[in-house]
Point group: C3
Chain length 109, copies 3
Amino acid sequence: MNTSKVTFVRIYLTEAEAKLDALIKRLHDWEHVRGVTVFRGISGFGPSGVMHSAGIMDLSLNLPVVVEFFDAPDKIGMILEHLQGMMEPGHIVSWEAILVLDNSTKTPQ
Amino acid sequence: MNTSKVTFVRIYLTEAEAKLDALIKRLHDWEHVRGVTVFRGISGFGPSGVMHSAGIMDLSLNLPVVVEFFDAPDKIGMILEHLQGMMEPGHIVSWEAILVLDNSTKTPQ
Amino acid sequence: MNTSKVTFVRIYLTEAEAKLDALIKRLHDWEHVRGVTVFRGISGFGPSGVMHSAGIMDLSLNLPVVVEFFDAPDKIGMILEHLQGMMEPGHIVSWEAILVLDNSTKTPQ
């Protein structure tokens, strides 16, 4: 199994934040990250302690959103430096992971 | 880049479990965790092997739900001790991660 | 706290790919993995750079889907070997994590 080290990133926003579109556009057009997936939570709270929840009656609510991506550690390090001006502190989490590249039988990891 | 070590946690439940609300309330009111996000899956199965899936006709189905949060490792250690009485074994997963705190140029990690 | 090492896996697909059902069936019927959760993203892009997004008018869009599971490292290693023929390279990410097993007071980790 041929694998490669990657850094995995999750960034926490809410739907109402205009910066979501700017962030996706930046990751797509400028940073050329391998791929990005955006997930909407059904409820949550951040450091303010205010709950954001989806009830039947409030579909337009300001729900939590997570932007997830991964790429080579050096590239992610640069991207995180670039993103710091755009994001509030304490909303970006990252960790090391392994990407399965193909089914050749090269040395793992 | 100023960063800090955190422990990241994901807890697996289903919507039908009354303990979801109790868990969120506990994390919010008692544990004062930095933030929590709840995601609903579109399908899944647990150790019982029974599939839970969302079809067009069964919006009220018992879908999988994940409660995600992170905080300082010591604080998470204590929270996990507290939660064990509330949760079934084998439904809490955690790993070490890095939180990007701000854009000052202090020593990384 | 009694814990055990696990390998955590996330596999990135899109809804339109027929392989989603085959993957879930394989993980359920053949690999007998501890549990699987499937999440639908609200937007995203992969190595092709093409955006997949959910608007109000296009509920049938080809959205990103993530299949998430975890189990003992040896078992996951075998499962990943099996899955490589089914998946495109670069769509499987994994990392090491800790599973909280029960509230007995055995040696942690």
